[in-house]
């Protein structure tokens, strides 16, 4: 049992979609050349993700961040152990592994019009969004990322210090009556 407290501490907002704080999540930054990233991915389970995509195996997800960076998403308490596994996989090679579970917040958007909430905040294209892709983008004035986890289901990531701003943004964009009706 962890004592970690995420910025919005599990809050929920009911708008035309439901916005909820998913609580602490394990996150690990992996940096390295493609070979090293592949070795770390193999050690952690999921396939090496293609650009702009995500791969998962069991409770471990890998998200493509840039040509030399991946992010691991996992259970909060599992992060240090998985980081150790990744480090071991590239022992002696040039790579960087850092647990960053506390640096970001992840919120969930749930509802048939979940994409509309994002459409109000990000210039990234939502049409044709599908499970298994990730976009790093901007949410109004904040840096952020989002990915689809199922029909009408998105997860939205932002930096912890901007967690309250992004939470307020998402709830405001989800206020009833402001559906885009595209």
């Amino acid at each position: 049992m962890s004592d970690a407290v995420s910025p919005m501490n599990g809050a929920t907002f009911e708008g035309f979609v439901t916005v909820s704080d998913t609580g602490p999540r394990g996150m690990i930054t992996l940096r390295g050349a493609p070979e090293e990233l592949a070795r770390m991915a193999k050690a952690l389970g999921p396939d090496l993700p293609e650009p702009l995509s995500m791969t998962a195996k069991g409770p471990v997800t890998l998200a493509w961040m840039s040509p030399d960076e991946l992010m691991v998403l996992c259970d909060y308490d599992a992060a240090p152990g998985l980081a150790g596994k990744a480090e071991a996989a590239v022992a002696g090679a040039h790579a960087l592994v850092a647990v960053v579970s506390d640096a970001r917040a992840i919120y969930r958007l749930d509802g048939p019009d979940a994409a509309d909430v994002l459409r109000k905040l990000t210039p990234a294209r939502l049409d044709g969004a599908q499970v298994g892709t990730i976009r790093r983008t901007r949410l109004a004035q904040s840096a952020g990322a989002f990915w689809m986890t199922g029909p009408g289901l998105f997860e939205v990531m932002c930096f912890r210090s901007e967690g309250q701003y992004v939470w307020t943004l998402l709830c405001n964009a989800a206020r009833p009556g402001s559906e885009l009706n595209l």
Partner: protein, 1004 residues
């Protein structure tokens, strides 16, 4: 008098009465009315006063081009000035107020300007209020500003909310008239995703009013079926009440959607600003009818012929009982026939063309309407409304028959709405036959690929006939789909039948021989009161450029941007300059097409969403503890923690003394923390910092200074050696993102072959500084780590578990006291803060804020980036040569620091300052030397950079940059006071450290 008529009004629902107020008076209208149609239906023709002469004005148009009927709509937090009554949809509870008059709309004292109209010609203000120069600022401008101006400024914060929406589409069609719908159908059939924006609440534009036949049916029925078809299509998005406001590079378009204008207070966003990316844009924006310039053409009751038709057909409103038509083309005949069918008397049609050959003229003749050919209007009788019109020969000077009427419907031809085509550089052609500027399809706005990304459709292309317009629009839609990656549809264009039209005869002023008296009464620009005489005067005074003439005369300025006046104005200017119209050209078309609300531009960014405020994990605790907040970058940090009845200054002093005597705690979470790892990391950091970082032993910390390539101090902080190939660099709060970017810039662009990776851990850790003589006792009370001097000496760090929280503890000090900085995972930061507080309670721990931190570091003589540095200061100026490595071959800034100006001996350099009387030097004060400079000011020899009252030392302390400062320690210099008395404060130069110079307190 204007009135409702039976049997007409395709857009209104007479079974639904809406109540509103006009200048406080209760009024009624129907669902579907605009404010203008409702007012006219109730007999109210006068809707405002003009800008300069305060002449009474009525609606001249029925849409966005309306220059006159501007009103203040709403009350309090929902008041908005300058709203066009013609585009304001009526709703229950609407409140409208007319503008630009005092005391009342009917009796306006400002109308005396009208009597002196001959004394207010173009450029009047420029010529009259030139001398004396000072009078402009203090006398003329305040007076003119008071008497001029449209509308009132809202006095309360906007009560509504707004938002953005981002949208991507292959083809964006702007305009939902028949041309827009035809273009959308063709583009959709080509497989493209299509979005259609229509600024009004109705599809179909003016075709249903103007008649004709499309695909064997009337336009209304065709529009209905076309919209149904588009609604069903998966790849089409339709948007009413959404104006295409501007076209920008790369297919970016702003759409302005009026979501909740008619339902104030329903919690929906009032307006939504669509930020659209389109591969191809089709502007099907139609055309705007032009007024005719005849004397008295601005009286209420003089209207565009098309507008008169709109009011009759769309809203069942006639502007008067007896209408006279004046025209140079066939379109106005439709108005005559429409009025006639609605049983409104038509006094006659005045047509400038000498012979009439078209079928429309024949229909009018058969209807028994009097036709007067080769004629013009030479004047209008009436003061606040039309009483009669004077009909004369077109070529004449202006005497003739007076015809009684209360409405004059005029048509001077049509101008395609080329605004959106032109926003991004689309060029225009002059069409001699139709006398209009139309888009030149050979010179469209070009995208990044060098190909056009905007096309026009229908009347916006200059295709004014129905059949021609639909064919043009269909083709534009087809080609847009293809250009956007779809295919060229084989579907046929809609087929239209329409009445044949006789060509127009361009007439820019009437009668042709009008003298100065008459030309002074021919309005070109209603909104700005610019007349034919003003433009002619500008030409005589040497204004040749249309852009200059616009600004000199104000033609085409203000909220309507000359939608009615531009073409007539530049035709008059061309005539006065004796050159053809295309040579004069148009003024620049700039977005937005019509004004959009400031709220829509701001979007959601107001109140708590105004800015992304960054908060530490302990933010809520600080807030509850009475933190006085200070912005630091985007962060908010506690400036101090005021206790009940305490001033901020008292709180700061208490926090400092408590830290010096007992122990204090500071939320240091905002400091930048950048992980730097790799075989070349040490080499990299040696280049970034002025001192050696590669030699820090694992387990130790070192202070470092970072410079830009130009040698100036950029950032500072403590660097920690975590492992053989890993360092953690602390940066300033405001510098965290910038320095991370700086590192990546050098790694990616210059030293791309160096093996170094960085990662920002700023947000990963919450950090608490515990400082003061009793700091060790507090950490011991937290328990879990050996924090003794032996186990953890000054400038070292250790990992462990403190109070059951995984922690990294640094023995570093920014206060000069025994000090630990504890970093824990951010999700446990609040827990750590509370635990430190509890553990420290027995030792008198108190939180301190940034101001106490600033003063304590100043007492120690530590620099602060942004106080001691301002982008022009090099490390040598700061007397910090101890932090500049002599051993290193190179570091960023080294070479720049050897430039002559940097190596100059008389640079201002950092010293401590101690006032002789113990007072505090004002912040920002300059040290003044002997003599005066060429401006008669005292010569300056330095400035104060940090100045505080030190509660520890009970006197003012300061640091400053002083010419040759360190060489002059012991000397006394004068600091000019800022109160204008010319007095000085005397201060002695000394070393920068005021407290515990040997550093014994931190190293215990």
């Amino acid at each position: 008098m204007s009135h409702r008529i039976e049997g007409k009004g395709r857009l209104i629902d007479r079974s639904k009465t809406l109540r509103y107020t006009f200048n406080g008076k209760p009024m009624t209208g129907y669902a579907g009315d605009t404010l203008a149609s409702a007012l006219m239906g109730a007999g109210q023709m006068v809707m405002g006063r003009s800008f300069k002469y305060h002449r009474p004005r009525g609606a001249v148009a029925s849409g966005v081009e309306e220059p006159n009927a501007l009103m203040g709509i709403g009350e309090g937090g929902r008041f908005e000035p300058n709203q066009r009554a013609t585009t304001t949809a009526l709703f229950d509870g609407l409140s409208a107020k007319t503008q630009n008059h005092w005391p009342t709309l009917e009796f306006d004292i400002g109308a005396v300007n009208d009597l002196g109209a001959r004394f207010l010609p173009a450029g009047f203000y420029y010529k009259t209020f030139m001398f004396p120069r000072v009078a402009w600022k203090h006398l003329f401008e305040p007076f003119i500003r008071q008497s001029a101006g449209l509308g009132a400024v809202p006095k309360e914060p906007d009560a509504d909310r707004y938002e953005y929406a981002y949208h991507h589409t292959d083809v964006l069609v702007i305009g939902g008239g028949v041309a827009g719908l035809a273009a959308a159908r063709a583009a959709a059939a080509g497989g493209a995703s299509v979005t259609v924006l229509e600024q009004t609440p109705h599809w179909g534009g003016r075709a249903p009013v103007d008649g004709g036949e499309i695909d064997g049916t009337d336009p209304d029925a065709w529009v209905k079926s076309a919209v149904e078809e588009l609604e069903k299509a998966e790849n089409v998005t339709l948007r009413l009440n959404c104006m295409g406001a501007g076209v920008y590079d790369h297919g970016f378009v702003l759409g302005y959607e009026r979501v909740a204008d008619t339902t104030p207070g329903d919690d929906r966003p009032r307006h939504r600003l669509w930020r659209i990316r389109a591969r191809q844009i089709v502007t099907a924006t139609g055309a705007i009818e032009r007024p005719l310039s005849f004397p008295g053409n601005d009286l209420p009751g003089v209207m565009l012929a098309s507008a008169v038709r709109d009011y009759v057909e769309n809203w069942g409103v006639a502007p008067g009982k007896r209408a006279l038509i004046v025209t140079n083309n066939d379109d106005a005949y439709l108005t005559a026939l429409s009025l006639h069918a609605a049983k409104v008397e038509v006094a006659g049609i005045v047509d400038v063309r000498p012979t009439l050959t078209g079928p429309l003229a024949e229909r009018a003749r058969k209807a028994g309407i009097r036709l007067m050919t080769g004629k013009a209007l030479a004047g209008v009788k009436g003061r606040s409304g039309v009483k009669a019109a004077l009909v004369t020969d077109l070529a004449g000077k202006g005497t003739g028959e007076a015809i009684e009427c209360d409405t004059i419907a005029m048509s001077g031809g049509w101008s395609p709405v080329v605004h959106l085509w032109s926003h991004c550089g689309g060029k225009l052609l002059w069409d001699e036959g139709e006398a209009l500027f139309k888009p030149d399809p050979e010179r469209p706005p070009l995208g990044a690929d060098g190909q056009g990304f905007v096309a026009t459709a229908g009347a916006a292309s200059g295709a004014l006939g129905l059949a021609e317009a639909l064919a043009d629009a269909h083709e534009a839609g087809r080609r847009a789909a293809k250009a956007a990656g779809g295919t060229l549809t084989r579907k046929a264009a809609p087929k239209a039948n329409e009445t044949e039209r006789q060509p127009l005869k361009p007439v820019w002023i009437m009668p042709a021989g009008a003298g100065p008296e008459k030309r002074m009464k021919m309005w070109l620009d209603y909104q700005n009161d610019v007349k034919v005489s003003d433009v002619q005067l500008a030409a005589r005074e040497g204004y040749q450029s249309v852009e200059h003439a616009k600004r000199y005369t104000t033609l085409g300025m203000a909220t309507d941007q000359g939608k009615l006046s531009n073409i007539n104005g530049l035709a008059v200017l061309s005539d006065a300059l004796g050159q053809p119209i295309p040579q004069t050209g148009t003024t620049t078309f700039r977005p937005p097409y019509t004004p959009i609300s400031m709220g829509a531009i701001a979007g959601e960014a107001r109140g708590e969403l105004f800015q992304s405020i960054r908060r530490t994990p302990m933010h809520a605790i600080h807030d509850a503890a009475g933190a006085v907040w200070e912005p630091v970058g985007h962060w908010r940090r506690p400036f101090c923690f005021s206790e009940a009845g305490e001033s901020d200054e008292e709180a700061v002093n208490r926090e400092i003394l408590n830290t010096r005597e007992n122990v204090g705690m500071l939320d240091a979470s905002t400091l930048g923390k950048i992980l730097v790892k790799g075989p070349d990391a040490g080499k990299f950091l040696d280049m970034l910092y002025t001192n050696m970082m590669s030699t820090i032993p694992v387990g130790k910390c070192r202070y470092g200074l970072m410079c830009s390539e130009n040698g100036f101090v950029s950032d500072d902080g403590v660097v920690v050696r975590l492992a053989e190939d890993t360092w953690l660099c602390h940066t300033t709060t405001g510098g965290a993102d910038r320095i991370h970017g700086h590192m990546e810039d050098w790694l990616q662009c210059e030293w791309w072959d160096w093996k170094v990776y960085t990662a920002s851990l700023t947000e990963e850790y919450a950090q608490v500084a515990v400082a003061g003589p009793k700091a060790r006792k507090v950490l011991e009370a937290l328990g879990g780590m050996d924090v003794s001097k032996e186990a953890m000496p000054f400038m070292t760090w250790a990992d462990g578990t403190l109070a059951d929280i995984p922690a990294r503890v640094y023995r570093i000090s920014f206060t000069g006291e025994l000090s630990y900085e504890i970093a824990v995972p951010a999700n446990r930061g609040a827990e750590l803060w509370e635990k430190v507080r509890e553990a420290g309670a027995a030792h008198g721990i108190q939180p301190y804020g940034t101001e106490a931190m600033h003063i304590m570091r100043a007492e120690k003589g530590f620099i602060m980036i942004g106080d001691e540095t301002d982008g022009t200061v090099i490390p040598q100026d700061l007397d910090m040569s101890w932090v500049i490595s002599k051993k290193k071959e190179d570091y960023l800034g080294k070479r720049a620091q050897q430039r002559p100006d940097m190596a100059r001996e008389d640079r201002w350099r950092l010293v401590g300052l101690e006032t002789l009387d113990g007072s505090v030097i004002p912040d920002g004060a300059y040290a003044v030397g002997e003599g005066l400079n060429d401006k008669g000011q005292r010569n300056m020899i330095g400035r104060v950079t940090s100045t505080y009252y030190s509660p520890t030392l009970k006197k003012g302390i300061a640091m400053g940059l002083i010419e040759r400062g360190p060489e002059r320690l012991g000397e006394v210099v004068d600091f000019a006071t800022l109160d204008g008395t010319g007095t000085v404060i005397k201060a002695r130069l000394r070393g920068t450290c005021f407290y515990d110079e040997e550093g014994a307190k931190a190293d215990v």
